[in-house]
Amino acid sequence: MAYLQLQGIEKFFGEHRAIKGIDLTIEQGEFVVFVGPSGCGKSTLLRLIAGLERIDGGKLLLDGRDITHLPSSQRDLAMVFQSYALYPHMSVYENMSFALKLAGVDPKVIREKVERAAKILNLTSYLERTPKALSGGQRQRVAIGRAIVRAPKVFLFDEPLSNLDAALRGQTRVEIAKLHRDLGATTIYVTHDQVEAMTLADRIVVLRDGVIEQVGSPLELYDKPANQFVAQFIGSPQMNVIEGKHVPGVPGVPAGGFLGLRPEDVTLQPAAQATGGLPGTVELVESLGAETLIYVTTDSGAQLVSRQATRSSLHNGDRVGIVIEAANAHRFDAQGRAARAV
């Protein structure tokens, strides 16, 4: 049975319909990531689930109970905020124990639970400090600790890593994944970073303008995007999408439609050895060590990125033949919807 169920959820800000009737089912223990560009409504949707914004239409069910209009305090959800939102006047210990204290849990049990969480999160030696005396990464861990001591029904994460530097972000991402594996708690995680989405999610929900564009496992979304938007949102560098007229040789592109190519599916051959393929010119070579990104322009004016796992001997201005793996290509109709290959 569905654990958390969104049925036609709607939200208006004044006249603006920010969330346009979202239907979604989340199973117990699942790690679901809401992803999308800024302004797509992902954070609003999370806040509606949290009860921090009023739901204007539809129904929200948790574990069989209608919680659509229940206040946040009675929903039994925990949230980790982007800004951490720690209580500045309380010590780390008090921050982590606040919810349990409000719930009237026995102090001895509270101490046990907080200490266990602190141990998991490496916070044991900081329990008496105030948030001010902690680094960004430590504050983040306190915010997570505050959520896990309660063992809530669902964890909500609102872009929890965006205030951390790149190295710490990667590290914390791994910790969150481990934590989810160990606790097995149902989690909803909002991010605009598709790498976080791909690495953490059991299922990704791609949102745009308050509607769901596609729901699926990370690789489903990568391999079978429902439309051009999802295709280009998932994957970095993003999928090449070029008008069908540039690639007359590839079958199955609808009239007026587009061809989508992952950068790893674009192979370049030096012009001298080129056997077929589209003729083009190298614009830029980015050597990242483990991989090389090569930006090319076809003679017909389309721009493409190629990703190669090997180091490349190509240079700016070199003439190349662009070989396209038609079997791996994605086809979109004029409206951007995925079209099946014929």
């Binding site: 921090l52 206040p71 959800l77 949230m79 800004s83 939102a85 209580y87 006047h89 606040f98 909500l156």
Partner: protein, 276 residues
């Protein structure tokens, strides 16, 4: 590394100007203190006396002729009660405006402030009649209500700007942690805004203590505050400068001493929200 400011003509001008302004502001108060210790004759002597043998005669006479303690108690009760009542009303109002902003919140705030721009005398008739009809003339309760209402806009504004500095996510976090509205207010918002609450309270205490217009028009012998005491030494008796000064000094002394000790809080409260 600290260094003394180098002496420049501009600095000299600024220093002199600052002293001048301070002296001008302080002069009436200083003169009042001097006069309070003079005899009536010395008080009106021309040219004015700067050096004289101080006397406590005026204070004795003021205490004899009018019950200073009664007025002082009225001042104390009305200002403390109106401050507490004002805080109890203003804190929830400011809370809802700061954290649950609606499309008209700004208008409501402006409207509240605009009531302070109207001269108090404009509302004299209706308020007097209301007080009379509800038998609140010359009662402490009547003054408390009027003082509270007249300070409320300022209190709401001060608390509002203080609350605005508190990130709303902290309160949301408390809600997610299961806090009821009261727990959220009591255990999270209150400790975080204690400084603002204290300075707002202090300011209103001073304003209520100094309130003269309503005190003079709505109270007399029973509920009169120290402002009424001072006033009683001016008109009916002719001008007895020394006694008037003594009465004034006794009226303002408590709040001046109080203000002296809490000036840091007061200044912080007035600029609070202005600097981040």
């Amino acid at each position: 590394m600290s260094r003394a400011p180098t002496f420049t003509p501009a600095l000299a001008v600024r220093t002199v100007a600052a002293w001048l302004v301070t002296l001008i502001l302080f002069f009436p108060l200083g003169w009042l203190v001097l006069t309070a210790f003079k005899t009536e004759l010395q008080a009106i002597s021309v040219p004015p006396l700067l050096f004289f043998e101080p006397t406590l005669e005026n204070f004795r006479e003021v205490q004899e002729r009018s019950d200073y303690l009664l007025y002082a108690r009225n001042s104390f009760v009305t200002s403390v009660a109106s401050t507490l009542l004002g805080l109890a009303l203003a804190a929830p109002a400011a809370y809802s405006m700061a954290f649950f902003k609606g499309p008209h919140t700004k208008d409501v705030l402006m409207w509240m402030l605009s009531t302070k721009m109207m001269p108090a005398v404009g509302a004299l008739m209706p308020i007097y009649v209301l007080a009379q009809k509800s038998a609140l003339l010359d009662t402490q309760l009547g003054l408390v209500i009027v003082f509270t209402l007249s300070n409320l806009p300022i209190m709401v504004w001060m608390l509002y700007s203080g609350y605005k500095d508190i990130p709303p996510e902290i309160l949301e976090a408390a809600r997610m942690d299961g806090a009821t509205l009261w727990q959220e207010f009591r255990q999270v918002l209150l400790p975080l805004s204690l400084g603002g609450l204290a300075s707002t309270g202090l300011l209103c205490l001073v304003l209520s203590w100094n309130e003269a217009f309503w005190s003079l028009t709505l109270s007399a012998a029973k509920a009169g505050t120290l402002a009424a005491l001072i006033a009683s030494y001016s008109s009916p008796e002719g001008l007895f400068w020394a006694k008037l000064s003594a009465a004034s000094l006794m009226a303002i002394a408590p709040i001046v001493v109080f203000g002296w000790f809490s000036q840091k809080q007061l200044v912080q409260g007035l600029t609070f929200g202005a600097v981040k």
